[in-house]
């Protein structure tokens, strides 16, 4: 069918970007599950990972730069938690969120300073950025790899959460913070582990994302970060599979909406541009509002009741 054919490139790119969002979303959902904190700085850490690659490749070959970038990014995530969130663990919720916003503000300004406000170009990574033919259209290999890599990583993560000691500790902490402490679980280690895992996945996501969209600016992390968070809420905050499903849905919808004008025009449904593309970002938020109003716990979320 013609509609499918015109929509296909957008759906495919949507699956790809959805996978990248998923890798970011997992970081949000895990941190929220344990600390009830929206880590506003997570998206910016993702952006920093991208910037790091830009600079590291000027000093060393790619096969060194990638692991080093991942290590440094993970270190950054770990440090942010220790410096900006740990001291406020007993403070009211608003204070920690403001701290997260402060960190985000700092990272963006730092990036602006370091880059001098210039657009940076992400290095082309051989093999994954090679063009391939998929269903008769041109795309790059990264678009094909992303969903598979994402799902593989998610499966690994779910296995870790369900079958390892540290995973059990994480689950315990996300259900009841205080009791977990009383049971002898080393809270600091669990929290650090959560941030490390989340940041690690975001770093991988950044490699995939910036290969697709090579321009890196200080604000490159803001939108993907927000969208990833929406994905996490949509799927049910605290649930890793939920965040992944949410991210793919958002990625696909966003991509299709970007191309909706083209799709509809090619199939004669409309004769002139409606300007849907402007709303591709806003659509994510519409989705967020809808889920918050009708099912605040998200698609796979659990209900919690407050005791009076």
């Amino acid at each position: 069918m013609d509609v499918l054919k015109t929509a296909l490139p957008y759906v495919i790119s949507g699956i790809s970007v959805g996978g990248q969002y998923a890798l970011i979303a997992i970081g949000y959902t895990m941190v929220y599950g344990i600390l009830r904190l929206i880590n506003f700085a997570h998206g910016d850490v993702f952006m920093v990972a991208g910037l790091m690659m830009v600079y590291l490749v000027t000093w060393m070959p790619l096969y060194l730069a990638i692991p080093l970038m991942i290590a440094l990014t993970v270190l950054l995530g770990f440090l942010i938690e220790r410096v900006a969130y740990k001291p406020l663990r007993t403070a009211p919720r608003m204070s920690v969120m403001i701290s997260a916003i402060g960190v985000s503000y700092f990272i963006q300004n730092m990036a602006l300073y370091v880059t001098g406000g210039l657009n940076k170009n992400y290095p082309a990574i051989p093999w994954i950025s090679d063009p391939v033919r998929l269903f008769g259209m041109e795309t790059s290999r990264v678009t094909v790899i992303t969903p598979f890599l994402t799902i593989a990583l998610v499966i690994a993560l779910v296995l870790l959460i369900n079958h390892t000691k540290i995973g059990m500790a994480m689950r315990a902490v996300s259900v009841d913070f205080e009791t977990a402490q009383l049971m002898g679980i080393k809270i600091n280690s669990v929290i650090s582990a959560t941030f490390i895992i989340g940041t690690f996945l975001a770093a991988i996501g950044s490699v995939l994302f910036f290969t697709n969209f090579p321009g890196v600016v200080p604000t490159s992390g803001a939108m993907p970060g927000l969208k990833a968070f929406v994905a996490a809420v949509f799927g049910g905050i605290g649930s890793v599979p939920g965040a992944v499903v949410g991210a793919f849905i958002i990625g696909i919808c966003e991509s299709v909406i970007k191309g909706l004008d083209t799709i509809l025009m090619a199939n004669g449904a409309i004769t002139e541009q409606v300007g849907f593309a402007t709303f591709s970002d806003a659509f994510t938020f519409v989705l967020l509002i809808v889920i918050l109003v009708f099912k605040p716990t998200g698609l796979f979320g659990e209900k919690t009741t407050d005791k009076v």
């Binding site: 929220y32 009830r36 929206i38 410096v83 900006a84 001291p87 406020l88 403070a91 919720r93 608003m94 204070s95 969120m97 403001i98 701290s99 916003i101 402060g102 960190v103 985000s104 503000y105 700092f106 963006q108 300004n109 730092m110 602006l112 300073y113 001098g116 406000g117 803001a222 927000l226 968070f229 929406v230 809420v233 541009q273 409606v274 300007g275 402007t278 709303f279 970002d281 806003a282 994510t284 938020f285 519409v286 967020l288 509002i289 918050l292 109003v293 605040p296 009076v308």
Partner: protein, 389 residues
């Protein structure tokens, strides 16, 4: 009885202080010319009044009622656009809306100015500002209906989402005839238009708007409704049990806060002489929130001080950090573009981590001054005791 007299005296002193401040601004407006070294002071006062009002109105919602909303920039941009659209003179309308056939062709300052002279122009501007606030609060009402019952984290993200949606809608091509799509709005009534003959009012007007608006907010906060808001913030379960209708009061706080956010947006447009939706991104809401935190959540005088400090520091005092020379240190390699914002963000983080209560905590300026006077009196008394022995 004695209490009432003290209150009346305090109010009187505050009013006199404010009047003196306004007179000072008026004088500065005439005395400081663009070539003057102190010209930045005027810019700081102009931008400062915009952000002071934005911060106070955000504090009303976040600090006094405990509703963590991140949608402020969205209401500000609505206010800015409303103000701009209704004050573009007829002659400039088509130049501004060059790609669209403008749908709204009325300019209140122009229409009323033609009918009533100078006085009419002033009336027109006031009308535009009020309209800016009203349209913003209308959107707030509609958004508040589904959103205000959400838990604090979700409320934050939902309001942030709505702000982004609003920003997208304002840039939508199809609404071009009204909003000029992705192009900016300009040529509307701005601060350079505010003058009586050679007597300049360009700083006075935004400051006056901010002072009057903040005054209104202070009156609301000091009333029984203000106390009800604080009760909701401190413990909304108890507030509801004591008969306070949560939905209604949260909505009142949200709508009033957004009204003044709209007014601050209109003032922003006045000061910047352009209205461009892309200037009102989430980052602006974050900055205003940080101003509130800097001054002290729950303190109106804190928000004013915090925002003035924020603007003065980032726009003026730390300028040297961006241009090679600061406090006598020359380091053009380090002190280049963007450094002042880096230093500034570090300062903010220090405040957030170590001085969580901000500058004023939750006290107001009169309380702090009272505290100093008490300490001074105690010191004097102690000294007298020593000398009399």
């Amino acid at each position: 009885m004695l209490e009432k007299k003290k209150d009346v005296r305090k109010t009187f002193i505050s009013l006199v202080a404010v009047a003196l401040f306004l007179a000072l601004v008026l004088v500065l407006d005439q005395v400081i010319k663009p070539s003057n070294k102190m010209y930045m002071l005027l810019t700081v006062l102009q931008k400062g009044s915009v952000y002071a009002l934005a911060a106070v109105s955000m504090n009303l919602l976040n600090g006094f009622t405990g509703l963590f909303s991140l949608g402020h920039a969205g209401f500000m941009v609505i206010g800015a656009y409303t103000y701009a659209i209704f004050s573009i003179p007829a002659a400039s309308r088509d130049t501004v809306y060059q790609y669209y056939d403008a749908a709204i062709r009325i300019s209140f300052p122009e229409v009323l100015g033609n009918a009533l002279g100078g006085f009419g122009t002033v009336l027109g501007v006031i009308l535009c500002v009020l309209l800016a606030g009203l349209v913003a609060s209308l959107f707030a009402y509609l958004i508040g209906l589904p959103v205000l019952r959400l838990k604090s984290d979700y409320l934050a993200i939902a309001t942030l989402g709505f702000a982004e949606i609003i920003r997208s809608i304002l840039q939508w091509g199809k609404l071009g005839p009204v909003t000029n799509g992705s192009n900016m709005l300009k040529s509307f009534t701005r601060i350079s238009n505010f003058k009586i003959g050679a007597f300049s009012l360009s700083t006075f007007v935004p400051v006056l708007i901010a002072v009057v608006s903040i005054g209104l907010i202070v009156m609301l906060v000091n009333s029984t409704y203000g106390r009800a808001f604080k009760a909701i913030r401190d413990d909304e379960v108890a507030a509801e049990a004591m008969g306070i209708d949560l939905a209604k009061h949260k909505m009142i706080s949200f709508v009033v806060s957004s009204f003044f956010a709209g007014v601050s947006g209109a003032t922003m447009a006045m000061v910047l002489s352009i209205a461009q939706a892309n200037n009102y991104k989430v980052a602006m809401t974050y900055e205003i929130l940080l101003m509130v935190v800097l001054g002290g959540i729950g303190s109106i005088s804190g928000s004013v001080i915090g925002s003035l400090l924020f603007v003065a520091t980032s726009e003026w005092w730390l300028r040297g950090l961006d241009s090679g020379k600061f406090l006598g240190i020359e380091a053009p390699g380090v002190f280049r573009n963007g450094f002042r914002l880096v230093v500034f963000s570090i300062v903010i983080m220090v405040v957030v981590l170590f001085f969580r209560k901000g500058i004023m905590g939750d006290r107001e300026l009169p309380q702090v001054i009272d505290g100093w006077r008490k300490k001074l009196r105690a010191k004097k008394a102690a000294k007298q005791e020593v000398t009399s022995e």
